[in-house]
């Protein structure tokens, strides 16, 4: 069906080995005159290599897998974009799996990537500790077979990757909010078993405590827009928001998407941010700065994180190196106090 290397070789009047050496990088560089003939023939016939066959012969596929929870979530799509950019020009292609936050699907995705003999797997997003066992096992198998594993956000197994200093960054945010004069805090902590969520919550609280402040409540719920919306609706219904006594409440959501959901619920109830309740998120997803009011958050260089991780997977030496990324508190209108 398609043009094969053998066809090119025949057309150029050389052996297949020579054609291979000319067209696809080899340590041996054939004679320029011969090379030119081969290239001309390849052009003429419209030859393009069969990556599957190359992968089989080289036992390396030129593929890298990226596993995310939800590609439509701006947090992950920003990372994906960075990863794509990091790989650009290296000749390595990206395979994508979006797991819809199911642990089962995550393990399945790793299996699939193993089948395709991806050179590396990038895993973005935090996992609950409960799911680690199965995932860890399959990743170890992968590593035993020579695969590189790069985690984004969470350390796991004996892999490398980018660790986000959730703890310290959340603490820094808490510090800034205290400086602004906030004293009454509520936290929307996401799902209980998510490590990332837990770390952000813990870091935030520990900083408050260090300043002698106790959070008024910690609510758990889905780590998503709808989770934030729901929790906020509940909170408003409970009458905890807008109380005139003891100063305004400050809500810390452990992710921006939760904060957006919460904001929607606040608006819907006819209340205002920051007048009735102050609001802070975490991640600094791109759409956040265009909200009204603009929302305070912790900036994570998401795209850069994706890029760095991808680049790490390209260099063999970095297989189990960790890079720590710190978040930067960004104070915006949503936590203003007049």
């Amino acid at each position: 069906m398609a043009v094969r290397l053998a066809d090119v070789a025949k057309a150029a009047g050389v052996s297949q080995s020579t054609a291979s050496r000319v067209l696809n990088g080899s340590s041996r560089r054939p004679n320029p005159a011969v090379a030119e003939r081969v290239r001309a023939a390849a052009d003429e016939l419209g030859y393009f290599p069969n990556a599957q066959a190359q992968a089989l012969a080289r036992s390396s596929a030129g593929l890298t897998g990226l596993i995310v929870h939800d590609i439509a979530d701006p947090y992950f799509s920003s990372i994906a974009r960075g990863a794509q950019r990091g790989l650009a020009g290296s000749g390595v292609q990206l395979m994508l799996a979006s797991t819809e936050r199911e642990a089962e699907a995550e393990v399945e995705a790793v299996r699939t990537f193993m089948s395709y003999r991806t050179d590396a797997i990038m895993l973005a997003g935090s996992r609950g500790l409960a799911d680690d066992a199965a995932l860890q096992k399959v990743l170890e198998t992968y590593q035993d077979n020579g695969g590189k594993v790069a985690m984004i956000g969470q350390p796991l197994s004996n892999a490398g990757g980018v660790r986000i200093d959730n703890d310290g960054s959340a603490a820094a945010l808490a510090g800034e909010l205290l400086k602004l004069g906030h004293r009454r805090f509520v936290i929307f902590a996401g799902e209980e078993q998510l490590t990332t969520a837990a770390q952000r919550t813990a870091g935030f609280i520990s900083k408050l405590r260090a300043a002698g402040v106790q959070p008024e409540a910690v609510h758990h719920g889905a780590f998503s827009r709808d989770g934030g919306y729901f929790l906020m609706s509940e909170l408003i219904r409970s009458g905890a928001v807008g109380g005139p006594d003891a100063g305004p409440l400050c809500l810390f959501c452990v992710s921006d998407v939760m904060a957006l959901g919460a904001l929607a619920a606040v608006r819907e109830a006819g209340m205002r941010v920051p007048e009735d309740i102050a609001l802070a998120g975490f991640d600094d997803i791109p759409t956040l700065a265009d909200q009204s009011p603009t929302i305070t958050t912790v900036r994570l260089p998401l795209e850069e994180i994706g890029r760095m991780t991808a680049v790490m997977t390209l260099h063999n030496g970095d297989a189990d190196r960790w890079t720590v990324v710190e978040g930067t508190p960004v104070l915006r209108e949503s936590t203003r106090r007049d």
Copy 2:
């Protein structure tokens, strides 16, 4: 290194052919007792097939390529999510290429996917007519080699896919805005050579004309958040917004991301939507409904579009079938008139 089919066969005391027939679907089903032995051995050894080798032997890779302009753009990431879902469970894997809106990169991505012998390629986003030649040529080569091409948004070549009724949907939106009483219109039309942008602009204008209304201006600029921001800044500086005479202006942006940029510029200038200027977008990206004010737009079922397209690529018969998707005008606060 890894466990091979031959190892499993030996462990089970059968031939490799039999092992293959048992483990990977074949038309011939070996004896149940034998099959069980093979499966047990495979489990025992932790065998998983080498997809590259399978692809080579079957001459079909079980891969589908998705090419988008920018995976971090919610428009495309929603489509990607749908595509992923559409493929889920079919055993077909998704390969992703994000081209950063460069025509060159798009052609390159098709080449890469050809190399990987993807069974199908989905192309999302509109292309300028100028780039069609190169792209069309490479896609034709792909089709000649048995590849399926599914376009999302724009027809091209003799492929199938999902066509979006930009023209009619924009006209419908214009009709609704006229009904609300708007008479002074400005259009941010995106890049001149983008077919999608041009169609939306044309549809909108033709409906206005039919009602005897002439748009006051059509401005071209980048089809992105920053493009909208820039155009709006210019517009405000020119003094065209907020004039008390002749009623409030209504701005139609040919994409939601442009509308978001425009909104940011309006806010920055201390003006208000819809009081000083009304605003409408196109696409209905997920974040739009959570804006304040909520933004009028044309709803496109983005995720469903991605899903449909992916499903089409799975069924051979649908290779050159077209599905037309209509957008639905959604009137929100940003175009309210009191």
